[in-house]
Subunit: 383 residues, 2 copies
């Protein structure tokens, strides 16, 4: 779920493609790296072996054991399969809010924020309080922002570390303080760690805990393995919470396919070697793109610390995000995401995704910069 | 989703299996026939070809065209891909109720009814009015029952034709009258046609319509192709409704895998030949099992007209459904579904699923009958 604005961009991009134009796709976090061969082979093997029936509602036990073992090591905590539920990550946001909140409750999101948080909250009749992170503070989560979030006395807080769209990685001390204070105050905390596997320095701060009763960690195999089409993610939480999430799975969609889960299990056995390459590639390509943006004289962005997004400040172009996106698509055949998808305040930002084919990404970034320079060239020189 | 009672049966069955016992599984509609080879091959081919990214929120266009073409022919109506949305069938029940009803609204289910209707309605805060179909009328949908449903002035009605658990196939005239009167009255109608492909005489009454503004048809590839693990179903409705369902897909889970949809598309091209064999097999095996039940002297059921379920009246055993299921599992290692899963009134029924391995099904039915006869033998002779 990427917001209504985004659909308009994608519809227009598709219309141009039907007219025969090549479009540079920097709008979606649809990674195009090659997944681990073992993952695809295990999926096909499971299909051949006719794993085609219903699977357990909480997810395949073997995969839950695999996830628990990995996070036990990362968190240095005793975690077992009882602390893990398999479900599509996008749906887990919805399921978390559904089991923890009642209609009318308040939820805090630190912004800019992944649009699915806002969409899920809105769908469930929840009010979202945006606690904005400051561009002047590199979009970092500060103690000040933690205090602001807790002071609004929400039912739940959603944290996204590392962050989509800014690529910021938060201080482990501040993140752990947030979790501890949520636990004390009985405030639910969803820690979305989908991009924690992709930090450029290999640092991975997880809040996964068997003891914490109000902290739910979620992540996805989509980005780390370049398999968004598998629609497979997972949550780690106290057993009382995983039991509710498993029941929610059962009520909503019964179970996930066994063969996709067996594929993810095979991926998990090679994740450390595999992800080292992906991290190096992401760091290099995101870094190159961020440098170009920041040397453009008209656009600027933070150097990301994880993932493959750049959150680009376009304020010097004097165009709002929707106009920028529409004209960039029409004039330069380059699709990017308008900033307002990540919170209504971000109309002078766009998001670039650098996870596509490398040549396409570099050309799309060049076109975005050229478009902005042609617009704002005189003004920049005058500044 | 098969109800809380069912989970208890399955937990106990698993415990016995862990102790090394062979369990005869007649509790789940988890068909074990071989799917069309083309379907599995196309799924693997799509994995090899790296169809691993995001897919359109409404479902793959090719699959939507395939479904529309098939139903256009069945319904003798002009239907296009704009009238089709792909989504897991179990979730579609939830999505239908979510987009058509508000919390507190009334929904009618004809009972006995598939437990997911009751679970989805309960999850969304809706009140369910059960309109029971009479065992003495072979659980048929009569004009009388249609009148009763409409007289309660619900926001929505859920119809399941052919029916799970009774195997009854309703009169096309009565079903069409229900749809027409819902349309006139502005009452939403969900027509779950998951078992319409499996009628023993090949008759297929669909309510799919491009014109009707309040009628939503849903079905699934799970049962017809023996691939419940694919979690792929579809809805057919007016464009205004499919647009809302597609947005619901996007909000909840983004999209379904492309490779499973491409597999289903390959299945759709061979469905007519394939399903002829499945129907013949189901008719023969269900018929044999129903005959044995009805010759038992203590159990009885309607002869099913579709699918693979038998809804068996156990009242002559003087055991309630939960006790019957628990003891049958412990004493005869045979798992069946308690009747109350299909509505609170059905405590003197059990459901047998005859879609497993044939030898296991026949042995499980024999054990069920033997168990009932050993309980009720004296009483039956006295009757």
């Amino acid at each position: 779920m990427i917001g209504q604005e985004m659909f308009r961009v994608m519809d227009r991009a598709q219309a141009l493609e039907r007219q025969g134009h090549h479009i540079y796709h920097l709008e979606l976090g649809n990674p195009r790296m090659a997944p681990p061969p073992d993952l695809i082979e295990a999926t096909m093997q499971a299909l051949r072996a006719r794993h085609l029936g219903y699977a357990p509602m909480a997810g395949l036990r073997e995969l839950r054991v695999g996830v628990a073992t990995r996070y036990a090591s990362l968190a240095e905590e005793a975690l077992t399969e009882a602390h893990v539920v398999i479900s599509p990550a996008n749906l887990l946001i919805h399921q978390f809010l559904d089991i923890t909140c009642d209609p009318g409750d308040h939820v805090v999101c630190f912004t800019p924020a992944f649009p699915s948080y806002l969409a899920a909250a809105s769908h469930l009749g929840l009010h979202v309080t945006a606690v904005p992170l400051a561009e002047t503070e590199s979009f970092q989560l500060t103690r000040d922002r933690v205090n602001a979030a807790l002071a609004s006395r929400p039912r739940a807080i959603i944290l996204n570390n590392a962050n989509n769209p800014t690529g910021a990685l938060y201080s482990p001390a501040v993140v752990k303080e947030l979790a501890g204070r949520c636990e004390e105050a009985g405030i639910w905390l969803l820690s979305d760690e989908t991009y924690a596997d992709l930090t450029f320095d290999g640092r991975f701060t997880t809040l996964a805990s068997a003891q914490a009763r109000h902290v739910v960690v979620m992540s996805s195999f989509s980005k780390v393995f370049s398999i968004p089409g598998f629609r497979t993610g997972y949550a780690l939480a106290h057993e009382a919470v995983t039991a509710k999430l498993a029941l929610s799975n059962s009520t909503l969609y019964s179970c996930l396919p066994a063969f996709t889960q067996l594929g993810c299990l095979a991926g998990l056995t090679v994740i450390d070697e595999y992800v080292a390459d992906i991290r190096a590639r992401s760091a290099r390509l995101s870094g190159t793109c961020a440098d170009r943006v920041n040397r453009s004289g008209v656009l600027r962005c933070q150097a990301p610390e994880s993932g493959f997004y750049l959150f680009v400040d376009i304020s010097r172009t004097n165009l709002d995000d929707m106009t920028f996106c529409r004209r960039l698509l029409d004039e330069q055949h380059t699709a990017v995401t308008p900033g307002r998808s990540f919170g209504s305040a971000y109309t002078s930002f766009i998001r670039l995704a650098t996870c596509g084919q490398e040549d396409d990404v570099l050309e799309g970034v060049s076109r975005t910069i050229a478009f902005a320079q042609n617009l704002g060239g005189c003004r920049v020189q005058a500044a």
